[in-house]
């Protein structure tokens, strides 16, 4: 099986980020704060992070900082980067749902509910969590306002995504609630198992999607060394 390119890129970025000086770490974090609002594609976000770390390292080698390399009007630059990054798609958002802390928290709560014999609590929490995920989606839509004005196709996709997720939320919540009343076998442990299954499926789907993205837009330095001058990126 091919390695998980996204995970490896993130691990590599985390390692190199630790080696940066304090001011450059702050600048990279500032850039990424804006960039994360501009894309749901975690691979593309991480690729921009790699570029920023490369720039920061090159700047440090020249005795300067990333902030200086980026110029004086940095907030405008960050917003521009957020607008220009590949925004990703609704599928990127959907398959990344299981990475959210709320999702993992719910699995933990379901397991806790099972051990404590509180299946009703689990059902109630699940019924609340799904609208929370919807709320998270709508908040993410709000963050995308920056680039929606620049990319009209996103507006259509956003509404399709919002409507389908709203419908899915209502249907799934209703089905779970009804089944919970009818089927004594649908215990907290079963819910936790189903959620874990979704977590595993979404992990492999994400992995396949990001590996395809990495094949199209690789992050590894595979070519020959270039030595025209000693400049940065």
């Amino acid at each position: 099986m091919r390695p998980n390119e996204y995970a490896q890129l993130k691990k590599e970025n985390d390692r190199r980020f630790q080696a940066l000086t304090g001011p450059d770490c702050h600048t990279v974090e500032d850039v990424m704060y804006s960039v994360r609002k501009g894309s749901w594609n975690l691979y593309e976000v991480e690729r921009v992070r790699k570029d920023m770390i490369d720039m920061a390292q090159a700047a440090e080698q020249q005795g300067t900082t990333l902030a200086k390399a980026l110029g004086p009007d940095r907030q405008a630059l960050y917003d521009e980067i957020a607008r220009e990054i590949d925004p990703g798609s609704f599928a990127d958002y959907f398959w990344a749902l299981s990475t959210r802390p709320l999702y993992l928290l719910h699995i933990a709560l379901a397991v806790w509910g099972g051990f404590m014999g509180q299946d009703g609590v689990t059902a109630a929490v699940l019924a609340l969590c799904l609208p929370c995920l919807l709320l998270g989606y709508l908040m993410a839509c709000g963050q995308r306002r920056i680039w929606i004005s620049r990319w009209p196709r996103a507006r259509r996709e956003m509404w399709i995504g919002a409507l389908s997720l709203a419908a899915a939320t209502c249907i799934i919540t209703a089905v779970i609630w009804i089944q919970f009343q009818r089927l004594p076998r649908l215990t907290s442990f079963v819910i936790a198992a189903l959620e874990l299954l979704f977590y595993i499926v979404s992990y492999f789907v994400r992995r396949a999607r990001y590996n395809r993205a990495a094949a199209r837009r690789p992050w590894r330095g595979g070519g020959e060394a270039a030595g025209e001058d000693t400049g940065a990126q």
Binding site: R16, V48, D51, I53, D54, M55, Q57, A58, Q61, A69, L70, G71, R74, L77, E80, I81, R83, E84, I85, D86, R217, P218, W219, R220, G221, G222, G223, E224, A225, A226, G227, E228, D229, T230, G231, A232, Q233
Partner: protein, 110 residues
């Protein structure tokens, strides 16, 4: 006062494509070439969103290469779509520049 940034915005993408058309290049080197050509305040940072845009539009393809001087460099090469866009830009720029030149010359004669 005349806002030069608006004029520059429309032309910088074409200039970047032209620089990359000569040979695949990286952000720092492209910025240096642009500065030498008269775009005095261009830095690698200001260029980065433009290069992202060109990559997203499929006009350039990026690849990372090892660098003897430090971290890997992101090299940009022109794609067939980029080559076509550059040809379109060059034709449109010549036409526009000639028209503007004509208008300015007419203004001087009056």
């Amino acid at each position: 006062m005349f806002d030069r940034s608006q004029l520059r915005k429309g032309t910088l993408e074409g200039c970047i494509l032209q620089i990359i058309a000569r040979a695949p290049s990286y952000g720092y080197a492209i910025a240096a070439t642009l500065r030498q050509s008269g775009f005095a305040d261009i830095t690698e940072g200001t260029l980065y969103p433009l290069l992202l845009r060109l990559e997203r539009k499929g006009l350039v393809a990026a690849s990372y290469r090892a660098s003897p001087a430090g971290p890997s460099r992101k090299y940009y090469a022109l794609t067939p779509a980029g080559r076509q866009t550059l040809a379109d830009f060059t034709a449109a720029w010549r036409e526009t520049a000639a028209a503007v030149q004509q208008v300015l010359a007419d203004g001087k004669e009056e």
